[in-house]
Amino acid sequence: MWDRLATARRLSDIFKSIDNLHSQLQFVYGIWVRPEAHVFVKNVLEFIPPDRHLEKVNIILSNEYSFLESDLSSYVEAVLGPVNVQTDFQKSPSVFLPKIERDNPLNWAILVHECGHADFQGNSHLLDQLEAILPQADAPSKKILQRCAEEIYCDLFATQILEPAYLASFATFALVVAGGGGSEISSETHPADVVRIAIIQEALEKSNLKVVLAESRLDSNDISSLFYNALEERVKLERQYIRLPLEQPLQQFILQEFVDVIYEQVDQTISLSQQLTIKDFARIDGLVKRLSKGILIGSYQNPQLIESAKGNFSEGRIDSQKINEAKNAVQESRVLLWEIVNAGWLHKIEHIYPRAFTLFFDSDAKPLEEKIKSWGKELEEIDRLLLKSIESSEIQRLMEEV
């Protein structure tokens, strides 16, 4: 019990310091958004059906640690409105990426959620459906419920694209930003983080993919429950209590009625053929092994072809037909960005986190600064490998498309 509390207290201190650092983001030197981030968002937009397809979503580096989606044209309209200038701007959806996450593709997962907002606003069919199941709610409650529905839509949109990687990313994000103990508190715009995690988990269960994270080699057998427990402890420590902006029956209403309607819509937006399946995770496991050896994962070889081609060399030198077969075997197919992000998260969970626990919780005499430096180096290395993998995957996609 005391060990658990001590760990929770230590986590609490770490996340408080992260909160403090985030408030200093304005002083961090920021340069332009990486091209890989544009590639990432461009690939997300391709999931959106043609009738509401978005050509472009801007990415803006932000001084605050929050991921947001906003239509920039509305700002311009608001500024010019009072001076009576005719405004007819094209919509300019934009997502905000905290500067500190500029080089960290694993946390770009949250950008997929933000792109979901841009899609939700164009999805009039869903808006009508939600309106139809709300007649008994009063106007302020209706507004709250609609906003919550939008958040749930975006979570499911991101889950269908990224699958377990979104859960891992969201849970980490929730743990960091829940510095004030807000993880169990619903706001007027967002359902509580713990509610959202439950919905994401449910979606993963439906796709038979919850098992992917449960198989991780962490002491806890389920990464999301690990985060959930940490959040719970944190909330207790901060002496925060669960507070809902809505009456309990309405909260139930969100979970039971809304989620089904939204889930159906997201399924129509992102078809089954576009989603990762448990079969893909057999390949992703291979990518994780490659990452742990420090090798790029923008493309992969087919292990069956490799094994059969190895037989061609049993007698040493071979003829041109067999060498062509062998060349086919060593040729690598492109890895999708979603596979890269999932492999990255699994690698982090299975290999990097355990090393961090050893580094920070073992009682060796190394100064903390040195430990932080070595941890930072490890994180930087994985970021670089993933960024390079995204680059090579995109170049291969463009080459193959042509």
Binding site: F313, Q331, Q396
Partner: protein, 213 residues
């Protein structure tokens, strides 16, 4: 001895040599080499801020001088990077290369690009056994017309050479400055042990403070 095509393929199958992404093996694997492509990261030379590398300052300041000597440019896929006649810049391979402890590599131009004056390395063509990482190109346009260089274009080739297994592979060496790189790397001459000695000498002769340990 140089590896022939089937020996290269065999080494790739056994993962003794790794060249990834290998997008089009039939086109990329030649009789005794593998073609490699251009990545998206370039470093342009910027001379406006300094007159020379000053070695009489702490190593952090030398690193800063090197950082200021180049300007990083990211090119999006399918966008050209224009290298004008006479210009020099750094680039890197799209591919990540891994060599075993008994094969060395040699980076060479492809004659297709050599014929219009593109050099991909000036002096540093040897890849040590046990190397891991992307290779940095020293790109130089020796021709008369600007060259549009697109990421993904095959600008160079690597030939492979058998050798007896080395006693210590490149990535394990204490002075392996460019191991496990995933992009275009600046020079790190200041990490060579000679500079320690030079600075000690300068310190003794002219009373400079030595900042190297």
């Amino acid at each position: 001895m140089v590896l022939s095509d089937w020996e290269i393929v065999q080494a790739l199958l056994k993962e003794e040599i790794i060249v990834t992404p290998l997008m089009n093996a039939k086109k990329q694997i030649g009789s005794s080499s593998i073609d490699v492509r251009l990545g998206t990261e370039f470093k342009l030379i910027r001379t406006v801020k300094q007159t020379h590398f000053d070695l009489s300052v702490p190593i952090e300041q030398i690193k800063e001088q090197v950082r200021e000597y180049t300007e990083i440019v990211h090119v999006e896929p399918m966008q050209p990077f224009i290298l004008h006649p006479g210009e020099f810049c750094l680039g890197s391979t799209l591919e990540y290369i891994v060599l075993p402890n008994n094969i060395a590599g040699r980076l060479e131009e492809r004659s297709t690009w050599g014929r219009v004056g593109l050099q991909v390395h000036s002096t540093a063509g040897l890849i040590d056994p046990g190397f891991h990482g992307t290779l940095t190109f020293e790109l130089h346009n020796m021709g008369k017309l600007p060259l549009p260089l697109y990421p993904g274009v095959r600008v160079a080739q690597i030939s492979f050479h058998w050798c007896q297994p080395v006693s210590e592979i490149y990535v394990d060496k204490s002075g392996a400055k460019y191991a496990r790189s995933t992009g275009t790397k600046d020079t790190m001459f200041y990490e060579d042990y000679e500079y320690n000695q030079i600075q000690k000498f300068l310190s003794k002769k002219y009373g400079y403070q030595s900042y190297f340990s």
